[in-house]
Amino acid sequence: MKALKHLLVVPLVLAFLISPAQDSKKAKAKLSPLPGTTRMLITGSAWFGYQGILNNTTDTDVTSNFNDYGFSPVFLWKLSDRLFFESEVEIGAGEFELEFAKLSYMVNDYITIGAGRMLTPFGAYGERWEPNFVEKFPNSPMETSTGSHLHRGAIMGVDVRGGLPLGSVKMNYVVFISNGPILDQSNGMVQYENLLEENNNNKELGGRIGILPFSNSSLEIGFSYKRGIAGNQGDSVYKDVAASAFAIDWNYVNDISAIKSTITFRGQYNSLSVDDAIYPVDESSKAAGTYTFDNKQTLYFAQLSLRPSLVGNKFFKNLELSFRLNGLTDPQDAAWGAKDKNGKGGTVTRTDLGLTYWLSWKTSLRTAYVSTAMPDDSNTNEFLVSFVYGL
């Protein structure tokens, strides 16, 4: 853990050691924009969706529903050559939420320090592929039902990041320190959606390293790790219970002239592990005492998309066909999570088959057939439609 803390300290110290020499007047000028020179842009997206449930229904079930709407403005301010502020507000389905609000200071070409509420720099989906105008499906990859937010989420904290050229290869990095995970001490669930409240003084440390091994940047492979104490401050039983997670993400995008198409193959595999601890047996089960379990979750998605972007026909070149496989495995002996017929935790599998028509580079009509198989052998099939308007 100490070594990990040092890994975070290193870039901060580096930032000041190798920052280009600059006199204080010049630095002040770069930090203080003159009136009227602040550069700002409002962008974002709006969306509207429909859901049709195709099976597992009774006469009283609603199977046809315009179920989704929202508006998500993104505010970008370039305050000076070195200072940048970005924020997103999401207004949708009756809720209003500040997704992120982050101020960044570009120390030099290789190091930027950011602070505030930010998208979790863990894996690639949350920061890169989650924005509505980027996502190719009407839905998102499957997420855990316990609030562990392995594919996306937001943290309160500080990060250091940058991109580095290494010959014909590129590398990028992010390290962060933030408010950490919170353990539900009644059942072992961990939630990562940390706002202003924190349940202990320990801060979570984590980061991601991305490698682009080809000179045309067509492939990126990312490795992420994070760890923090999740138990309540001072609690005699849970104060040392930590949660750690790692992720591997990949993204390959290339034009294949032989099939006159652009293919995208991307995905993310996550593993979350919580230290062993004892939990009280649920009173409703009329059993006394405590129990423990191997508290591990895995979550992944892998998607392949094909867009015939190199054909001449305008209609076909704007079509994109996508397939996505999602999987979630909950702990076998937890009191929560998807269960098989024997009451043991199992794997939920979801397959998404999508067809999107791009009206512009960020406006699209998306459809998908979604089939979800539960560990108890039940399944649900849905048809989703979404119209996303890029602003």
Binding site: L7, E86, Y110, P165, W361, K362
Partner: protein, 89 residues
């Protein structure tokens, strides 16, 4: 003993990191890439590629900085891409 090891890791890490970053350089082939080529290669990694005419010069400057931070583009890539978009819109 643990403290000494921690200090050694810290000093070693700073030294190695400084050496790595100071050694950052691009190959001649990468250095020769134009803004247009970098625009084509990098933007489509995550999303469809916008036309230069979609935004003004000032807006491209803002978007370029945003994407440098979001996608961890190198500073050199960002500068070339923004210059190309501003010249082509």
């Amino acid at each position: 003993m643990k403290k000494i090891i921690s200090i050694l890791i810290l000093v070693g890490g700073i030294g190695l990191g400084a050496f790595t970053i100071q050694s950052c350089s691009t190959s001649a082939m990468v250095q020769a890439k134009s803004g247009a080529q970098l625009w084509g290669e990098n933007c489509k990694r995550c999303h469809n590629v916008a036309s230069p005419s979609d935004y003004s010069d000032v807006q491209w400057d803002v978007i370029g900085t945003h994407m440098r931070l979001r996608a961890n583009l190198t500073a050199d890539e960002m500068r070339k891409i923004v210059e190309f978009l501003q010249s082509a819109n």
